[in-house]
Structures are given as C-alpha cells and as structure tokens.
Amino acid sequence: MTAIVVNEINIKSLRQQETKERLVMIGLTIPYLLIVILLIIVPIGWLFGTSFVDQDGSFTFKHYVRLVESKAYYRIFITTFEISIFTTLICILIGYPLTYFISQLPRRFANLCMIAVLIPFWTSLLVRTYAWLVLLQRKGLLNNFGIELGLLSEPLPLMHNMTGTLIGMVHIMLPFLILPLYANMRAIDTDYLKAASSMGANQLRAFWTIFFPLSVPGLLAGSLIVFVICLGFYVTPAVLGGGKVIMVSMKIQSNIELFFSWGAASALGVVLLVMTIAILYIASKFVSLDQMSSRG
C-alpha cells in the first residue's frame, strides 16, 4: 500500500520536473526561433510579397501570368529539371560503386579516400568550375591531348553546352551523394553478409539481397540532396553552359536586369521554391528527411 503511494508521489514529481524541463527547453529555443523567423520566414514572406508588386508599386498578377504565357519559362524549367535529373543519375552511377569500394576498405585507407572526396568539396565552387573550363575547352588539355595522341580527329564540343554543364555539376555534387551514402554503408552490419554467405549465397547474391536494400535509405537521401541543390544551381551552368544552357536561377538574375525590379524575379523564385518544397514533401513519403542531416 505505502509503496504504491510513494510511487504515485514519485510519478507526480517526475511529471512536474518533466514539464519544467520542457518549458526550459522551449525557452532556450526562442532565440533560435527568432533567428529563423527573422532570417528565413520574413525574407521569404517578403519575396512572396514582392512577386505581386508591379513596377509602380501596385498589386498585380502579371509576373505569374508571364510565367504561364511565355514559352521561355516553360523551356527553362524543363532544362532545369533535365539537368538536375541527369546530374543525380550520373552521381548515382559514379558515386554508388565508389562509395561501396571505399566502405569495404580497412578504416585507415577508407579515411584517406574520404579525405580525397572532401578536399574538392572544400574547394571553392568557382575555382573548380573555371578549372573545368581550362580542361574542357576547344584547345584545352583534354582535346589537345586527344588530338596529339591521335584519338580525336577534331576537338570534341565538351563545354559551352549541356555536356560541360553536366560534367561540372556532377563533379561538384558528387560529395553530397557520397557522404550520406558512406555513413549508411559503414553502419551496415557485415555479419548479415557473412550469414548470407554461410547459407550459400554467392557474393553477388549477398550484395543484391542484403547489402543493397540496406544501403537504399542512404542512396535516396544523397540523391535527394543532390537533386534539390541542382535545382537552384547558378555558377556552373553560367560558366560551362556558354549562355545556351539557361537554368531558373540564371533567369532570376537576368529578370532583375531585364525588368529593373524585384517582381518578375521574385515570382520565379517563389515558383522554384514551391516546386522544391513539393518535391521534398513527396520525397518525405519515401525517405525520412531527418536521415539526411543525421547521416550527412
């Protein structure tokens, strides 16, 4: 009897403590919430607002009407999605085997390999993009080499087009795929594979039935990061696309120049943002999004 009473008192005070702690936690997050509101919510709200403002300051839908009416915007969105999808696919094709290889190495070598992945990741995007310019141009290193060795009869059009844009973007986006995927693959218990082997599965079978399904969450998370970042890419397509590959972010910039106002650019920004959020929302049905950050 008494034991139960004591227990109830205990539970009560524990509950009180818990509420208190929760309140303190909420209190502690307030500065962060303020920062988020000030730096993210307010500017996005402002962006949204300006997309409905005409040059003379009156309310208008014309920036959105233009997006629907002009074929140029339609084509630009198609290009943006094309580039993002292709970049993601190529990143998977290159990144998955590479990450698998690294994850199977002893820790020490694997760490060295990861450093090799990370160093370009930490190098300025602009520098890497211009480095590709030197390598890929008509009289650049690759074409000159190919011609000198007799492999090419004339220089290949490697840049100032879609090819160059994709090469540059894959190079820049690859670490974003490798990092979450590597963390995921490292966490896969090798005992499962040993168990599969002991039951007679060959290596290929063990890989496809055990390892691959277990690595899918990391693969999806990495692909999603790559895809979403690609949607807003600016520098690389601007430099390596030769002015012919036009992505949404580039059009946002040129709209500011073209119309001398925020409105036209804001509307485009809002549409891109909404599309990105929609994609993230749909993706969240298949991938747990918190995995992206915890594993990255």
Binding site: W46, A72, H160, G242, K244, K251, E257, L258, S261
Partner: protein
C-alpha cells in the same frame, strides 16, 4: 514582423552610413577586366592622388545593381561607370543624380557625349573580331560575312544581351548602316533581326556576358569570330591573341560616369568627375585601352601619336564607317526587345 524587419534594416543602414561617410573617400564601381585596369591606372588613381583623396574601386553588374541599392536606401557607390544606354535607362528610372555641369567642365567635349545624368568617359565600338590563325588576314569583313558559314566556317560567339545584338543581324540581312534604327523601329523589325540570329544560332558556340569573357574566348581560340568591344581585343592582341577586327559596320557608342541617387559623397564625386574629364587623363587612358577620348583637347597634348589615333573608334575615318548607337531607340524599345531576345535564347 514587418516593423521588426524595417527596424533591422534601418539599423544596418545606420551602421553602414557611419562606416562609409568619409569626406576624403570615394567609392567607384566599374566593369572590371582590362577596361577597369585602364581606368584605374590612367584615371582613378592619378586623379585621386592629384586631389589628395582615396578612391576605392569595385566591380559591379550594371545599373540594375544600382537600382536595387538606391531603392533599398543603401547607395554605397559614389560613382558608377556605365554604357550610355544603361545610363539613359537608369536616368529614366530616376536612380541617378543630375550632374552639375558648372562643376564638371565639358566645354571641350564632342557634342552628344554627355547627358544630364551621365558624363562621357570614352568612345568605344562594338565590332566583329576574328581569329587570324583560322582565317589568315582575309577574314570576314562585315556582318554578312559573319553570317556566311559556308565561306567562313567556324564557331561564333555573340552577346547574351540585346544591347548591340540586333544591329549586326539587321545589317547582315542587307539593311544599310544609315537605316538600321529605322528598320528596327517596330516589333516586326526586331523580329526580323531575331530571325536572322536564329539562322546563325547553330553556329554560335557561346553567348558571352562580359568583355573579359569575349576577349578570353578569342585568346583561347574557343571561337573563331565574335562580336565585342574593340579595346578588349587590342589588349588581348597585346597579350598574344591572334585576333583582328575592323570598324566597318561597327556600332559607335560611349561609356560614361554617373552618380547614383543618394550617394554619400555627391559633391566630391562631381569634382572627381571634373578631374577625370580633363584632357591629360583622357590622353593617358588611350595608352592602356583603345577607347577614344570624349574631350577634344586630349589630342592637343601631342601624346597620342598618329598610329594610335587611327586605331581609336572616334577617329574621323573610323567614325564614317560606323553606326552611331541610338539612345532614343534603346529608351523606346529596349524592354520589349530584351524580353524577345531572352526568349529567343531559350529556344
């Protein structure tokens, strides 16, 4: 929320104003590359030294940058360098200060090389340049040749913006130099020029966005011919680029200086513009880049020799061959033409 935002903005502006208001300093923005190098070496820094002030130089992306800053009440530049068309458009937008020509002496300027809001700094041409390694010395001579991919096979580069992009196309389509703007003075005329560009588009490898870029494209041999600004090609040639151009059917235009509305050091900026408009600076400027002076007296100093003078866009023999860029046309048609041009680029 909005009030908070405004307060934060006001606070940053306040901080900014404390930091930037300094009576002996000017902030000047220009286009970078060999052009700004010439400005810096021949104009900005010597003039600053003569006046005993400090000039901080920056590069910027054009009048749209100025507009955004002026509208946000955060004008950071005292002077901006810009093409005449950009100046005129910006003046119409009301984002430039009116220049005080009682301070800036333009009495020796060529007529038409200054406006209420912009004083001319140099005369330049939009020309066609070709690679002499590809075509020898008998390369394309006019815009019809530029469009002739059978006679002159090779890769082209063209401007990504509408400025100076329609005139060559309409001339390639057979319009003589004195009727260019007449023909372009309608949506049909603009469409005619755009169709001509569509025709050449498969052969245009790059649409360039800056002078530094088109100079680099020629230097690297990335393209065989391009449109571009004459001075940049001369600088590239000095650096070993195999490039040649002529003034035939080129577009004659001028660059100028303007003061953004609300500039912190407006009065000092006026005096500075007067200083760099003096003949001795302008005569020095042409040594670094072949853009002609706007002040006639620059020739009287005797430092510009005959060969150099003939290489300048503003030499009378060269002027005869060219189409003077029409600011009126740009102020009337640019917004429409720019949108049509941008649409053509995405096709």
């Amino acid at each position: 929320m909005l009030l908070k935002h405004k307060l934060a903005l006001a606070f940053t502006l306040f901080l900014g104003s404390i930091l930037t208001v300094n009576a002996n300093e000017l902030s000047v923005a220009s286009w970078g590359g060999s052009y700004q190098h010439a400005q810096s070496t021949a104009l900005f820094q010597p003039a600053a030294a003569a006046m005993g002030i400090t000039v901080n130089e920056e590069t910027y992306g054009g009048m749209s940058d100025v507009k955004l800053k002026v509208n946000a009440g955060a004008t950071v530049w005292d002077i901006v360098a810009s093409g005449s068309g950009g100046c005129a458009a910006a003046a119409a937008e009301g984002i430039l200060e009116e220049l005080d020509y009682s301070i800036i002496d333009v009495s020796d300027f060529y007529p038409g090389l200054y406006m209420d809001h912009c004083v001319g700094g140099d005369v330049f041409s939009t020309v066609m340049a070709y690679n002499t390694e590809t075509y020898g010395d008998n390369g394309p001579q006019n815009w019809a040749d530029f469009w002739d991919v059978e006679k002159f096979p090779g890769k082209r580069a063209y401007r990504a913006k509408v400025d100076g992009a329609l005139e060559p196309a309409i001339m390639a389509d057979g319009v003589p130099i004195d009727q260019v703007y007449e023909v372009l003075n309608s949506v049909e005329g603009i469409e005619r020029a755009l169709n001509k560009i569509r025709e050449l588009k498969p052969h245009i490898a790059v649409f360039w966005t800056s002078g530094a870029q088109h100079a680099q494209l020629m230097k690297d041999g990335e393209v065989d011919m391009t449109t571009g600004w004459n001075g940049r090609f001369d600088v590239a040639k000095k650096d070993g680029a195999k490039v040649r151009y002529s003034f035939d059917q080129a577009l004659l235009d001028y660059d100028g200086y303007a003061i953004p509305k609300g500039a912190a050091n407006k009065d000092l900026a006026m005096q500075f513009l007067n200083e760099i408009s003096k003949p001795q600076y302008q005569a020095e400027f042409v040594k670094y880049i072949t853009y002609g002076p706007t002040n006639k007296k620059a020739y009287d100093l005797g430092t510009i020799d005959d060969a150099l003078s003939r290489a300048l866009p503003s030499h009378p023999d060269n002027v005869k061959l060219q189409v003077p860029v029409s600011i009126e046309w740009y102020s009337k048609w640019k917004p429409i033409a720019a949108e049509m041009y941008a649409e053509m680029l995405t096709e």
